[in-house]
């Protein structure tokens, strides 16, 4: 009895089915007041689905939910918000065409006495978390991490008793992550509970009090954080023991493959570097440093002022992604929903997208070969999908990412560019992607990898470049260097 | 409706006119010629654009300063065009309205501004005729009646006829259809069916005729099609079905109609003479502006073109 009073949320026996998928199977959770409650699990474990049920986006099929002592049968997003449950969704949840201030107070315009009041209050909130974003800028003009901060601010603007954060840190920099940590502690001290979902286990260990581990729609275990070790957690998540989070670094570095010279755009200044055969080159920098711009410019996706590329000793021109692909380059973009996938199309169609031009004979396609590719990649990458014909829209984030990566693997690219390839991907899948990366370099290809997770870059790459403000500011060998030195250069 | 403001408009417009004369209109051909705003019903319509062309030619001859405006078959554009004419300070407006009802308020304004108003081809309803000075044109209702008469004459013992109307709701379609119905009243002619088109499109009339042929087959003795180019479609449909001897009557009197009558594919073509209409209206306008007396209503008689008289009539230029 006594204990029950302290619970903010009690979920018992919740089940959710999607066509062909049992997303949640009799899930039960108990979340006390004033704790940070971590939920971890592989991609497709059902974490996001559970959160969407709590916030009223999906209907549950079975089970009961009790929020703040009240049984909730049916809820809608607005009711959930009013009750005091706010959520930061995994996918961005902002209106790009409106200003930061208006987004924070979306739908509550009159509560703040019009435009001026809204922006004023938004300013106060942003200041309170130490963000310098101008409330009058359009959200569409922000970078991924700035958007994330706006989302966090938005969740704070409600007087919530429970805040769900579904991978809030996936695009935050170290600096911002620190701020987020402070915010979380502040909230917890005020007696507000937080559900924290992340694939970055360090954060889980740092912030959370209790952790629930999910796999395939089931709750595997719930334990206070002190009673868990990292490897134990990983083992429970993936259902087997993983010795290392990173495979051994591959060392096949050979002669120069791609030389980038004198690359200038409106944002980039004098970028020069060389990529060698069999090398994984990491690009490190703060958000907005221009890493994405560098690789897009190389790939021919953006306009450039000047650019010289030398591939295998021969000067080449790359003025469009088409040229880039013809030279054996491939790009996995950072925003998979907008730039990577055709969400309405099937998993298979998304996988074969890049390879179509290879299997077409004089422009005529071969359905049989397409099928082969689909099945091969689904097996190779262990993509969790009912069938190749299922819509990619319904896959979990990690599995969607695998589709985008898989599309290029089929082509054995010489240069594969990966922009945040493991964003929102679970440990198991990450490992698989790392192994795949190693396989590519083994075959003589080379990889440029952008990642905001420093450990990942340091463990995977043979060489690291730091980018700051559109310039390359340093070159390091990750085995020899101290991470703090790299961050130093990245900050500028 | 609004006396005071109307008065002011009048002085305004008068001042504007004076100004025009002071500075000399750029388009003015001769110093003393009157300016006329010629508002065409729809420049995309063949007959209308033809009448506009001859009006421009005729005006040059008469030393009239004529500017043409298009209402594109839209009643609202007609009122806009009238307002533009008033603003430009013309001496006379001659309009062939797409919807005669709809221009009445705008014409009131024009009259208040002291502008001579002439209606061309379509007249206002009887109760609003005070808002125009003169009317020149053929009577579409009469065209329908004449078409009916031609059929009655050809089939004194009665027959079955189908009617294919022009664009649904268009002034000419409405009047021709009403006239046709009125003309048949009391006769022993049966109207099997009657359909309008979405546009004045030959394709529409052809499709309707094809369906009629399937449905009524040889029962059809005569066809009344509202326009000559539509009759082309009717003739095509009949040819495709190998039907001969169907008595076709159509209105307009364009070259296509004359050609059909000459080949014998079309029995009767009710022709309207735009040359006469234009000459008469410009004449009336000149007289009205000069303050001379003129005929208020000028019916331009319709020609009933048949194979007998087709060669004696001047071949139309459109």
């Amino acid at each position: 009895m006594e204990q029950k009073k302290d619970l903010i949320l009690k979920v018992s026996g919740v089940t959710k089915r999607f066509p062909g998928v049992l997303a949640l199977n009799k899930v039960s959770l108990e979340i006390p007041k004033g704790v940070v409650y971590g939920i971890v699990g592989e991609n497709g474990a059902g974490k996001s689905t559970l959160m969407k049920i709590l916030s009223g986006v999906y209907e549950k099929d079975e089970g009961t939910i009790e929020f703040d002592g009240e049984i909730i049968e049916h809820t809608t997003p607005i009711q959930a918000l009013r009750r005091g449950l706010s959520i930061i969704y995994q996918e961005f949840n902002l209106v790009n065409t409106m200003t930061v201030g208006e987004n924070i107070f979306l739908g509550r315009f009159s509560e703040n006495h019009g435009m001026k009041g809204t922006h004023q209050k938004a300013r106060e909130l942003l200041d309170s978390i130490g963000s310098k974003i101008d409330t009058y800028t359009l959200v569409g003009d922000l970078s991924a991490s700035e958007m994330q901060m706006v989302e966090i601010t938005k969740a704070l603007s409600f007087d919530s008793k429970l805040i769900i954060m579904d991978e809030p840190s996936s695009s935050l920099t170290t600096e911002e992550l620190k701020k987020l940590g402070e915010i979380i502690f502040q909230l917890r001290n005020k007696g507000i509970s937080i559900i924290y979902i992340s694939h970055k286990l360090d954060e889980i260990f740092e912030y959370c009090n209790i952790v629930t581990i999910m796999r395939d729609g089931n709750v595997i275990d719930t334990k206070p954080i002190e009673e868990l070790t990292r490897s134990e957690m990983i083992a429970k998540m993936v259902g087997r023991t993983i010795e290392n989070e990173y495979p051994p670094r591959a060392h096949f570095v050979g002669e120069p493959l791609l030389e980038v010279k004198n690359l200038n755009t409106s944002k980039l200044h004098d970028i020069n570097f060389t990529l060698h055969k069999g090398e994984i080159l990491g690009l490190v920098g703060l958000v907005g440093a221009g890493r994405t711009e560098i690789i897009r410019a190389i790939y021919g996706a953006d306009k450039v002022k000047s650019k010289e590329l030398i591939m295998e000793g021969k000067p080449v021109t790359v003025s469009s992604p088409r040229d880039a692909k013809a030279l054996g380059m491939g790009l996995v973009p950072e925003d998979r929903k907008q730039e990577g996938l055709i969400l309405r199309f099937s998993v298979g169609e998304n996988i074969t997208m890049a390879a179509l031009s290879e299997i077409a004979k004089k422009g005529v396609l071969n359905r049989k070969k397409e099928k082969e590719i689909e099945n091969r990649q689904i097996e190779n990458l262990l993509i969790k999908t009912p069938s190749a014909a299922a819509k990619v829209l319904n896959l979990s984030g990690g599995n969607q990412q695998k589709c985008v990566v898989g599309r290029w693997l089929e082509l054995n690219p010489k240069v594969l560019i990966l922009d945040e390839p493991t964003r929102g991907i679970d440990v198991g899948a990450k490992y698989e992607i790392y192994v795949l990366m190693n396989k590519i370099v083994e075959q003589g290809g080379a990889i440029i990898m952008i990642s905001s997770e420093l450990p990942e870059v340091l463990s995977m790459s043979n060489r690291v470049l730091t980018v700051c403000d559109g310039r390359i500011t340093g070159e390091f060998s990750p085995e020899e260097v101290d991470p703090s030195e790299i961050m130093d250069r990245a900050i500028g | 409706a609004c006396g005071k403001s109307g008065g002011e408009t009048k002085t305004d417009a008068a001042a504007d006119t004076a100004q025009t004369e002071d500075t000399g209109n750029t388009a003015a051909a001769s110093g003393d010629g009157i300016t006329v705003g010629w508002i065409v019903q729809d420049m995309a319509n063949e007959s209308q654009s033809y009448s506009c062309r001859i009006a421009e030619e005729k005006a040059k001859e008469l030393g009239i300063n004529l500017t043409s405006y298009d209402q594109a078959g839209d009643a609202q554009k007609a009122t806009d065009a009238i307002s533009t004419c008033i603003a430009q300070g013309v001496d006379a407006i001659i309009i062939n309205p797409a919807d005669p009802q709809a221009v009445v308020p705008a014409l009131m304004e024009a009259k208040e501004a002291g502008i001579v108003v002439g209606l061309f081809s379509s007249d206002l309803a009887a109760e609003s005729q005070q808002y125009r000075d003169f009317f020149c044109g053929t009577n579409d209702t009469m065209a329908g009646e004449q078409a009916a008469q031609a059929i009655i004459d050809a089939f004194p013992d009665g027959c079955n006829v189908v009617e294919i109307g022009g664009q649904s709701g268009h002034d000419a379609q409405v009047k021709r259809s009403d006239g046709f119905k009125a003309g048949l009243e009391g006769s022993n002619i049966t109207v099997l069916d009657s359909k309008n088109c979405d546009q004045w499109a030959t394709e529409d009339s052809m499709a309707i005729m094809e369906d009629f042929i399937v449905k009524y087959g040889d029962k059809i003795d005569a066809v009344f099609c509202h326009w000559d180019n539509g009759a082309t479609g009717v003739i095509n449909a009949l040819e495709n079905a190998n039907m001969d001897g169907v008595y076709i009557v159509a209105v307009d009197g364009c070259s296509a109609g004359y050609d059909h009558v000459k080949d014998g594919t079309q029995a009767v073509c009710i022709g309207q003479s735009f040359t006469n209409m234009v000459a008469q209206s410009l004449d009336c306008a000149q007289k009205a502006v000069a303050g001379e007396s003129f005929e208020e209503i000028n019916w331009i008689p319709l020609d009933t073109v048949t194979s007998e008289n087709v060669d004696s009539l001047p071949y139309p230029e459109w």
């Binding site: 916030s55 986006v57 997003p77 607005i78 918000l81 009013r82 949840n93 902002l94 209106v95 790009n96 065409t97 409106m98 208006e102 979306l106 739908g107 315009f109 009159s110 019009g114 435009m115 009058y136 996706a301 953006d302 469009s320 | 409706a1 609004c2 005071k4 403001s5 305004d12 504007d16 100004q19 500075t23 750029t26 388009a27 065409v40 420049m43 995309a44 654009s49 043409s68 839209d74 009643a75 609202q76 009122t79 806009d80 307002s83 533009t84 008033i86 603003a87 430009q88 797409a98 919807d99 009802q101 709809a102 009445v104 308020p105 304004e109 109760e127 609003s128 649904s168 709701g169 409405v174």
Partner: protein, 322 residues
Amino acid sequence: MDTKRVFIKAKQVLLKQKAVLAILAMLILMLFFNTQFYSVYNWMNVFRSATVQGIIAMGVTMTVLCAACDLSVGGIMCLSGVITVLMINSGMPIAVACLCALLAGAAVGLVNGFLVVHQRTEPFIITLGMGTLLKGICQQLTDAHPIACTNMEFMKISNTKIFGHIPILVLYMAIILVIFFCVLRFTTYGRNCYAIGGNYDVAKYSGINTVMIKWSTFVISGVMAALAGILLSSRMNSASSVYGDNTGMLVNCGVVIGGTSFAGGIGGVVQSFIGVFVLQLMSNCMDCLGIGAYVQQLLQGIIIVLILGFDCFGRLRKREHV
């Protein structure tokens, strides 16, 4: 800081608003010709001509802001005129007739909203079909004959002038424009419309009653079109089933020309009015210059293509995307 922001905004508007540039170009061009273009009467005439489409554009803008569109406005306008005139001719008081017409417009908007918002059909195509349907109803009601209004009082609604020069229609337009501007700018409802158009799901998750709001924009659009129908019928003292044939396309085109994005969330009623106005002004300019009908059509097409084209171009340059 605030003045600077205003200045930047003004510059942005001028650069973004190709329609304003087009208007300026026309105004300058007309200085070189000796016509009555710069007379009070003519300007009132242009404004008055833009009124009917302008009023419809207000409602359409609401739907477009919510990332939908309404092409049935031509049909609604026509229907409302027919209903009003028929009822007045049958002896009803003018006010009752007008009210019924507005209700009819609201009813059509309700159905449009049901289909588009509730049933999630494609607004472009469904409202296009609805327009055809309404046109048929008008033809049925009038037997495709134009009908004159027998009560001359009805004419006064649109044909009065105030202060001697200003047609009352222009006043109506101004009032409606101000109301819509304020609603969109200063009320939660208005801001919610922008949110819905910007990102429907986000608006929904943020607790905005997206369905009702988006639905209501269709009702507003219907009512405004019906109002425009009444004013048009009063202006012309008649109703006919052929009114409004191209209105749907033209008004939606005007809205987009003004800079209200068909993708939703960007724009406003002032822009829309400018968009409708630019087409009207252009036609007036060309009439004043005595340009032939075909060339007018050609020039109008070219202007539409250029304004919208450079709008696209501007957006593209900003992002430097593929």
